[in-house]
Amino acid sequence: MSLTLGSATLWQRELVRFFRQPSRIAGALGTPLVFWLLLGSGIGRSFSLPTAGGDMYYMEYFFPGVVVMIVLFTSIFSTISIIEDRREGFLQAVLVAPTPRAAIVLGKMAGSTSLALIHGMALLILAPWVAGASPASIPRIAAVVAVIAFGLTGLGYQIAWRMESTQGFHAIMNLFLIPMWMLSGAVFPPDGAPGWLQWVIQLNPLTYGVSALRWSIYGTTDYLAMDGPSPGAAVAVISVFAGAMFVAGLVVTRRRSM
């Protein structure tokens, strides 16, 4: 039974469903945008990060962080639908179909990744104005956002697959996923954090995602945090993370089928 046909059809369903529920679009895009505008304007020039390329104010520093937040929110909201699919019954029919289990994981992750990419890029069209990115860098940025989204979707998949209720997922989101985002260099530069926190930041795969995104926007290392990973390492780590999440998704799907 075909992997591509099975995953393509589940991917398509994911997208169609999403666009038939406009409130979900507002939820995934609205909150991060408000965060960025309020925090960015409020902190304003109280924050000024000296970089090789010149001083950077908070609105600009926080910009890639907000993109990652949008990606995180979209990934989470669309993987939560696994719990709904299980409760409402759609998932059981997928599970008794002869389609490969890999198609189920891939379809879901590709669907959520596409949505996260669409949302992330909706903000990233501002990159030329906010961060001086050249329009030619857009494909590179999109590729990095897609890899980050795939990894975060896979992480959401792991959590959602084991969950019986959406409330449980919200608890995990607040206790684990939001801190993961905060400690990724998205909100503040890691250089100034105390030593133990720097360790956490370095072990956080999302740190590498944020670094890779900053690099993809500027196309140079001039604007990265001083002790941050090199662009090559950042892209490598986040790609391995994305691949590992897919494999882990496959393992949980094969283990529990109800």
């Binding site: 099975g6 059809t9 019954g89 002869p98």
Partner: protein, 307 residues
Amino acid sequence: MPAVEVSRVRHAYGGRIALDDVSFQVEPGEIFALLGPNGGGKTTLFRILSTLMPPDAGSVRVFDADVRTEAAQVRRNIGVVFQNPSLDGKLTARENLLHQGRLYGMRGAALRSRIDEMLAQMAIAGRAADRVEALSGGLQRRVELAKGLLHGPRLLILDEPSAGLDPGARLDLRRYLTRLRDERRVTVLWTTHLIDEAEDADRVLILDRGRVVATGSPNALREEIGGDVIALATADAPGLGGQIRERFGIEPMILDGSVRIEKEDGHRFVAALIEAFPGRIDSVTLAKPTLEDVFIDRTGHRLWEDR
């Protein structure tokens, strides 16, 4: 080769035993009912047969493929109709069927014409473009049935198929399933807790507390009871039961405060009872045995008993 071959299956959830040494076979082209009270093990058996979970022990084969090791092959051969429709409410009926078909490897024009065929068979072609959440429960069940049959399965498994259907729709469903068996040789297996739904099957397996209580055609099972079933309403069921035993040398059963007797030529025996115990019997019912009587006979309690 049997359509379904279940042998010595055991399954437990934690410490609670759901299936205890269950064995049976379903022949191709049979309409087979799994009858039992809620909590009797039907749902567990349904999950195992539909490949949602493997049994703890024992073997289950569907058209000679093992549900544990050859799940993909089993899945190709079975169509599953869930009690809670497995439909996506945000999608239209046709879209639901499109995704279903592709998950079974169907595509393109062949898939589209098969969907049209199923929509027509279920008489829902006019609502194909409506979102499923806007359809009534009865129509949703028809879309669900179309979904289960779309890929032309050899075995159709239905979980409580008439739950939530009005009597007319129930009758339509039974007729349709019979036609499906007669014309396409599809084997049909359903779970039910309703006696009359089990009476419609060619053969019935009665499950209680995870064990097989009886298997056979509804007629054969009823004939095993023999004769009629007499129920006597009385103020003192145990006392009357004891006296009946002494006087007639038979073993009455006391159930829910009434005396229950299985006896040939029940009408004659009723007359004898009334004469023997004047004023002791408040009312009498005399009936041909049903599958519920079979169940009571084998388990000593009713299908619908709180436990």
